[in-house]
Subunit: 337 residues, 4 copies
């Protein structure tokens, strides 16, 4: 940790700071520059509460040196982890493809979608049963009935099931039906939920919150890993910016960044990441070209009558076309699809 003192800081303030740093178990190196004095505090800055240093008189600002996460770090584990969950595998040479509707609506809808996306090459089926919705007046999902329909679709196709869990008390129920628990963007910092997923016997797809920094995302993953569940994959689904012509802004630099910092596989969501059907295929291809390990895409047999997210959903035909195009990109980066 680097502590930069104010130019106006007194010797007494400096001494007080050094004493405080040492009381935290860190070693303090005082470096006197031409204009400023800097104190380099050496030791493990993660396990101690250091934020209060900024409130000490004479301190201007404090910079961290170490990444705040450990288990998620690529330093500990230099190869990308391969996560397996039923038919689904992500992190190896093959691109993982999760596809399906925003919401499970009926047996007919989910089974037809499952068959279509499998035929096009998807390796897992997504579908929401517990739906977190912005408005209390919107469709809230079929809940356990939806989970049962997802299980039916798996029985028919063999596809692994990816579905959202919104509350710690539902984790066991959902894990009874699904191979992959999705933690949605709104719940990325719902720590009780993260802890419950850390104890679950299922893989976890952790979506980045729309204003989460990379450190916050990796610390959220750390909660799950720290709970004993090592099967975590990260999902970039777009961030909130001033842009209004897309629902969110999808930053694909997250792919090389995360691949440098963590061993967890990276999945991109071009549906939420753009919010417009006509952009999904372009961004799916871009994600694979950027090196993503997987994609997750919303697909529905009849998008204009979908109960949610129709504006960003592909028809089964459009998804098949997208997959044919993505396969060519995958080959061009020595991956398979």
């Amino acid at each position: 940790m680097i502590v930069v003192m104010k130019t106006s800081a007194t010797e007494d303030q400096l001494k007080h700071l050094v004493k405080h740093v040492e009381s935290l178990g860190l070693k303090a190196n005082v470096l006197r520059g031409t204009e400023r004095t800097v104190v380099a505090a050496i030791g493990d800055e993660r396990v101690i509460g250091v934020t209060a240093l900024e409130s000490i008189p004479g301190v201007d600002n404090v910079m961290r040196v170490l990444a705040p996460y450990k288990l998620a770090s690529r330093e500990a584990h230099t190869e990308t982890s391969t996560i397996r969950a039923g038919s689904f595998e992500v992190g190896g040479k093959a691109i993982g493809v999760i596809a399906g509707p925003c919401s499970v609506e009926s047996e007919e809808q989910i089974v037809a979608t499952a068959k279509a996306v499998k035929a096009a090459g998807a390796t897992a089926l997504r579908g929401g049963a517990f739906k977190p919705r912005t408005s209390p007046y919107s469709f809230q999902g079929m809940k356990e009935d939806g989970l049962k329909l997802l299980a039916t679709a798996r029985d028919e196709t063999g596809l692994a099931i990816v579905t959202e869990v919104v509350s710690p008390e539902d984790v066991d129920l959902v894990a009874g039906y699904a191979e992959v628990l999705q933690i949605g963007a709104r719940n990325m910092q719902n720590y009780r939920l993260l802890e419950a997923c850390g104890r679950a016997d299922a893989a976890v797809l952790l979506k980045r919150g729309p204003s989460a920094t990379m450190d916050e995302l990796l610390l959220a993953a750390e909660y799950i890993l720290d709970g004993g569940n090592s099967r975590v994959m990260l999902c970039e689904r777009g961030i909130r910016t001033f842009e209004a012509h897309t629902r969110f802004t999808l930053p694909l630099a997250s792919v090389p960044y995360l691949q440098q910092k963590t061993h967890l596989p990276v999945v991109i969501d071009p549906s939420h990441g753009t919010g417009h059907t006509y952009m999904v295929s372009s961004l799916a291809k871009a994600a694979i070209a950027a090196g993503a390990d997987g994609v997750i895409v919303e697909v529905h047999p009849d998008p204009e009558n979908a109960k949610s997210d129709g504006y960003q959903t592909l028809s089964c035909e459009a998804f098949a076309t997208m997959m044919a195009e993505c396969r060519r990109i995958a080959e061009a980066v020595d991956r398979t699809l």
Copy 2:
């Protein structure tokens, strides 16, 4: 709802759209402009799933006309609601002032803080017992023991208690100790928690998520109101922007905006909203001048040894000075403090 057609839209696409709009129970008015055709769909756009309209061929974009919330709307309830919870009142002429440490750490700490903030004019005591923390390695709060210490501090001072609840299963426990349940920024869209607070016998302080729009904030409040709990106050605590010299950017235009759109009282948090002790007093004064109904401020007897948030916490003395200054501003806007 206003549907703007593409210039390339065909008559068949227009007919298909009109039929779809009518099938949703809305009346479709077709307006042919010099370059574009617009369809105005009249009726209650809230209760039907309309998002899928954008995926209909020939549609360029869709604009909402009605606010998506009802119970929170100022149209239904033209005066600001006054919320009462023990010693605390907000929404009337008096500015509500909530003060206290980020985390409850010990009886000595919380009681000393309570006495000091009461002496300075605070009308409620804040203190975290269940702490949502970005890192699993940070102090996680004293949990129920912390709630008991808050109750002790109330017994000593008479101040109402404001404390965070992070999970639906804790709502009854926390409501047994506190007059006001705080829903933190990270949980603003934790709908199970909102629903549980909607059934609770306590007031609710709902913090805006750092990337939540105003509609999302008001719809989160709508979940609580719709559950039957009318004692909801909104808290602006800063949004995430590109600015790095503050922890968050505190947008005080939220005050006049919310006062135009909703009857719920508005509380400002200049501590989280800036992230720097030296800025808190300026922004607290600004909030009151802008018309805020209340402020919530972090105060600790010894900020440099606080277990969390020390960098944005006032000492008891600094808080007393801030209150004296705020009192003058309150008088200048015909409020009391």
Copy 3:
């Protein structure tokens, strides 16, 4: 234009608004909904000053229906325009590749770079002679001497020259040396400069400002087109967001969005768009996969001794590797490189 009235609007306010709309030469359609009255104002909303409508009593908000630009619109010109400037062509099947250093530093440096990037497949050479620098204490560029060195590099390689112009009075000077005038992100709304480039005999590469909306970018292009210069290409180089692990956030959804709205070719800058050397190649590939018409990349023979932007610059060898990878992606989307 759609004008939404407040629920509290009176009949007199409505009449006053209708009269005002008609005085602007638009036709007013009054639509009475269940809760709100909406006035659809039909006609060309571009050429009249309409912003003041929001200040009329009883008006809640105003929504535009028409795009505010005309010449840049894809409605007028349904195919992507191909822009040619010396050896450089962009907008057709071949991906245009502009490469070179941030700043021209010496004849040896610029000629060596030109030869290397040409050998790797670049079709134009970039290099800054007039440098807009954040600090007055930073290297400000070689100015006309730099332009002369660029001309030497063109003579040696045949590559078209792309270089920045920062002031209207320099446009003729720069156009005397360069095939393509670059308008930097900081000058996207320097209207005098746009007007001067509109009269120039050179193609223009217009970079998006870091907080410009798409409408603002297209209206900036409109200034140049309106001046009579039709050879305009747009460059997405990243936007300012809360993300701190990249210099800017590069939104590749700009590619499909712009291709739907305008006929002008779209070039992506993965160097400024990420700010980190190690990310450039991933994002260049992603850009091409997303459908970009060109890329612009910073290359220097010795990045660690570059006078500017070294942290985001590729060595000549790294650029050659990037090009080999990009060529495979181009083929996978039926383009050439």
Copy 4:
């Protein structure tokens, strides 16, 4: 400057870095931590090109220690500077108030406004003659004719004139008519313009760009100060964020931040900072409560017929009311108005 090495950095990479740092004239202190090695480079990091350090093998990231600006710094000049320009003074006990229309439209309009704002207590008159407009089809200002009308208004009222200059070649012309040259947000990084204003015999009001960091704003001021013009005031007019219910987000934490870092006075623009007439008064009061040295407000005798910015403009009556309210706030913070 602090250079953090990667955990994987080799001894040779460290040696290479140290040599490079020393070749720049800085002293390198190597600090070996438990997990990372850090190199503290001591000396004046401003005058050398240091950005390329990040591209050196083995380097993870580089943190600045010194502020990049000098003349603007409060370290050099510990009291707020008082800027005087005709009737206008800002930086002392009295709050400077600049008011007037977005655009000068006619003699009648500008003289009437000048008289009204003076009567209400304004100390300078604003009015645009050279208008930078987003669309080429919008009203572009009356140019020199507008300047003449401003001079007439000054003759009638004695108010100092604040007006925008958009191009270096106009600086002398505009300075011939106005006491204060305004540099608009779009031109904050138009360095030629900054340099020209640095040589002008007029005060300068420098507006923050909507995505400029504080360092960028202060470095833009540094260009003017470095040119020899010490009469610079800074204007916060809002930043671009995801918020859509305001035109920009107005961050009042800029006031205490700038007052800690610079001696230049700080003026707040609640008109552009909100974009809505009904919010202006609240935010003007908040700005003064936060400690701002001045405010700049758009006022027009007939906002609904203003040629620009009507939606955020106060009528003369509304301005008088605002001033009465602001005067009470000014007194509550021991200032005058």
